[in-house]
Symmetry: C2
Subunit: 249 residues, 2 copies
Amino acid sequence: MPDLINNHRSIRRYSSEPISDALLQEILHASTRASTTGNMQVYSIIVTTDPSQKEKLWEVHFRQNMVKDAPMVLTFCADFNRFNTWCRLRKADPGYDNFLSFMTGAIDALLAAQNCALAAEEYKLGICYLGTTLYNAEKIIEILDLPHGVIPVTTLVMGYPDEQPGLTDRLPVEAVVHHEKYRNYSTADIDRLYSEKESSALTAKLLEENKLETLAQIFTEKRYTRKDNVAFSKKLLEVLEKQGFMKNK
Amino acid sequence: MPDLINNHRSIRRYSSEPISDALLQEILHASTRASTTGNMQVYSIIVTTDPSQKEKLWEVHFRQNMVKDAPMVLTFCADFNRFNTWCRLRKADPGYDNFLSFMTGAIDALLAAQNCALAAEEYKLGICYLGTTLYNAEKIIEILDLPHGVIPVTTLVMGYPDEQPGLTDRLPVEAVVHHEKYRNYSTADIDRLYSEKESSALTAKLLEENKLETLAQIFTEKRYTRKDNVAFSKKLLEVLEKQGFMKNK
């Protein structure tokens, strides 16, 4: 299994071969075996295979073609709607319209998503996470008809791979691990931990293409800019309010 | 691997047998192979084995004894501190002091945590997630010396199991899965989907112990009350502000 985990690649090109219902059921079952806060299972998974629905999702996921090309798109949502409905039908007053509850649902959704990803890979499917889910949550809510109490948190595209990419580089394990207490990073630490990434052929290519001096600038000036982050943060907080997760007083 | 995933049990009693350094390295390596937004790896893992540090964490995790008894406690944090430090040393202006960036880091941390959990189980270790992490984030920040830009999101206790619990019940898979669009739940749906859980021996025992009429009331009146959720939400939003993730304008 570490072999399976260690060999994960994000797949962005898919064959048109569909995923059988039986296989999908296996994978969804494995998703539901993830840990969940207090066994509340406060998440839902929306399965999209319909081409017109996929096209709408493609639009809001920044037109990444894998959303249209992969046979299946799975949207993982924090979901207190089902749990709240159950409570109300059982003479119980649910107090889950607050920020902590959103985070509880998001954690449930993300653990289920990672189980889903690994189960899919075990069955030779490929997956890719879409970070764009939180950027355009309000449009996804509309496309998927998500009610009050439900917010999409992440998305997996899934299908049989039509490419065999190499492993992505990672920082050395020591870069992300601290023992007993957080030890902050000196300039020498940063230089050492990022040196392999910064000196790679991929980085050289990106710097050339983007006409920038450092790899960090590609993140701050091109890929994840302050302006975008602030705009998406504002929209996301509005979504939390609108979907009923900001009664914090 | 679905076998491994499908056999997950949360372990709450541990033997005193320590986890070897070599095994810990394998597990941490597997954690770092999880998908991460834009390959930024904006998370950190704090490994606690020191008994006095474990005792402090036990205190803030509502004195759950597994925190003291398990040989290792792993705290998974959203971490933009390292990335921001790198940016500043590379003439790049990081715009990651906002809510979206906190969520990006939290997603990274949670996917790494689930890889960690499964890799540990592959090696015959047991794990249990601690949902209390977000409740007392500000105290964990103090205990682990987490700097600005770092927030604990979830915690795993880890060690060799000293119990063999049965599988936990789950709702039927159809309860959490929707096709193409979210279909809301009728009273009949809720009755059907929750019937197995509600009629179990465990539920009967809990109702007896808590002197309540419905299982839902055990959640709303005992385990996850509105009062607690609101108080923890307020504290958590203050932590986001204090750690530098609420510049959303």
